[in-house]
Symmetry: C2
Subunit: 323 residues, 2 copies
């Protein structure tokens, strides 16, 4: 079992790699090689099998062809220019999210070996301009360039699967909370910041109303679902290879209540509130209520306890206090 | 008013050009230049204004940039590699339908002038794998490469419109019946053949069951709707620039009944029946029942009389008998 994680230097990709190293198998087979590729080569990881790290710009067709000159059994495609960045820089988003995904699919098409391809799409491919809640058969009518580019990737993944070039599964990830590290250019970055920074003793800014609903999943459940998605029988999906992963719907206010319950009054007091109209417009355009029939029928997992998510972050991802 | 019809050598494009030459105006302005572009330069047409003809391969980015170096007020993008051809030749379909559409959008993005862009998508972007009838907010889950490529174009059109690069409108055309001329590589080609060939004294083959439902529109109504779609206020469409044009749902058997009513027993006797599994599979994957709320609210027209469609064909498009 040879596994390639494109976007393996990112937070979710790194956690997925750790999970695969821990479980040693995927799809019932022993992993013999795990490759992590990202725009900068990811850091090395210790494992019972070979783990290699590669610098890869997926917008570079030749570089994609080169890494796909090896027969991978499972490829995770998690690489993306994130939402706010793709909105601010149209060309950068098209280059990585549109052509990058196309390049990966085309490189797979040129191979005799047919890999399982797990593609991370996003709830951002939906909008609030259509009847809610979002179902698996609701139109993707994205109101951001990032969501558009992700939805295009979904369509291509489906057709490349139908034609047998890949065995694809496109999953629309909820906003993953709590991310460790620093804020990024994702419009959803604040969802983690308002939990992470206060717990680490730093101030945070909440740019949307506390009544704003968020559709989210923990890193733990997301990684577990990404493993399961690679292991299902692709043919069981029929003609529709794209579906939403389970999430939980929670208001920003309820997230802060959970932070207070776990960390106390002083911690939640580090969160200031100032509406950022750009961020708010993007976030308001995302659907926060989805019915995930396909994912549920496949037995995928769903978070239901935000306090647990906060405690998990403290246990595994929180930066040690400088003392 | 400068109008460019890409795909102007095709049947619908040609009829649209004739209509524009007849009405002399579009969007309330006098037409000063009508350009017809197609893979081979379309034949010239007489008009009260300049009509030019251009050979254009939309997969050739430089050629697209060249024709778009003039500021067009309205661009119709009707050019496509049709369904059965895109299914038989994946690369040809991706080249014209995917990259060709992208090239047109990119050429528009590079201009200061923002054109109205009317994009012909297709009911083939839907499938029967989702709850019927199809609504304007139903997911495009195409089960052909043609439908996939059309649906990708829709997503891009929407984002390029949202960002102000174009003022786009994507319309999902029903199967247009009766087409004049000869059968083509579209899986829907038989829908016209079974009417046209018998009326012209030639045999025809029906490759699907007479119970098969078809979602269709006449050339007359289709062209009228394409004119109206260019004239609506794009902003009134909000964040969703793609919608289905009205069609009528009719079985192949009812189409043949109308042929018999108009042409008589001998004419309909020229139709033989033999199921073609490839064609049948594609056609069965198309939705034949759509609710067209957006189009209806815009006042677009709908056929309701197939005998009239047959008579219109005889009056305007039937090949003169060789005698």
């Amino acid at each position: 079992m040879r596994v390639l994680i494109i976007g393996g230097g990112g937070f979710v990709g790194h956690k997925l790699a750790e999970r695969l190293i821990e479980q040693k198998t995927l799809r019932g087979e022993t992993i013999t090689h795990l490759a992590l590729a990202d725009i900068g080569a990811p850091s090395a990881l210790d494992a019972d099998f070979a783990v290699t790290a590669h610098a890869l710009d997926i917008a570079d067709r030749e570089a994609v062809d080169a890494i796909l000159s090896e027969d991978w059994d499972v490829i995770y495609h998690l690489a993306a220019v994130v939402s706010a960045q793709a909105e601010a820089d149209f060309v950068a988003g098209m280059r990585t999210n549109f052509f990058g995904t196309f390049n990966i699919l085309e490189a797979c098409r040129m191979r005799v070996h047919t890999p399982v391809l797990v593609y991370a799409s996003s709830v951002a491919s939906f909008s609030t301009d259509v009847p809610q809640p979002i179902r698996d058969w609701t139109a993707t009518t994205p109101q951001t360039s990032y969501g558009t580019q992700k939805a295009v990737g979904e369509l291509l993944l489906n057709d490349y699967s139908r034609r047998g070039f890949i065995d694809g599964r496109g999953v629309r990830l909820p906003t993953v909370v709590v991310r460790p590290g620093k804020p990024n250019a994702a419009a959803s970055s604040f969802c983690s910041s308002i939990i992470r920074e206060p717990l680490q003793g730093e101030p945070a800014m909440c740019p949307v109303s506390v009544d704003q609903e968020i559709w989210l999943a923990s890193p733990r459940v997301t990684v577990g679902n990404l493993v399961k998605v690679a292991e299902i029988d692709g043919k069981a999906l029929g003609g529709i290879r794209n579906f939403a992963l389970p999430g939980m719907t929670i208001t920003v206010g309820a997230m802060l209540d959970a932070l207070k319950a776990v960390g106390g009054e002083n911690v939640v007091g580090l969160v200031d509130h100032e509406i950022d109209p750009t961020i708010e417009r993007i976030v308001q355009g995302w659907s926060s209520r989805l019915v995930t029939d396909t994912a549920d029928s496949l037995g995928l997992d769903r978070d239901d306890d935000f306090e647990r998510i906060v405690r998990d972050f403290m246990a595994t991802d929180m930066r040690p206090a400088i003392s």
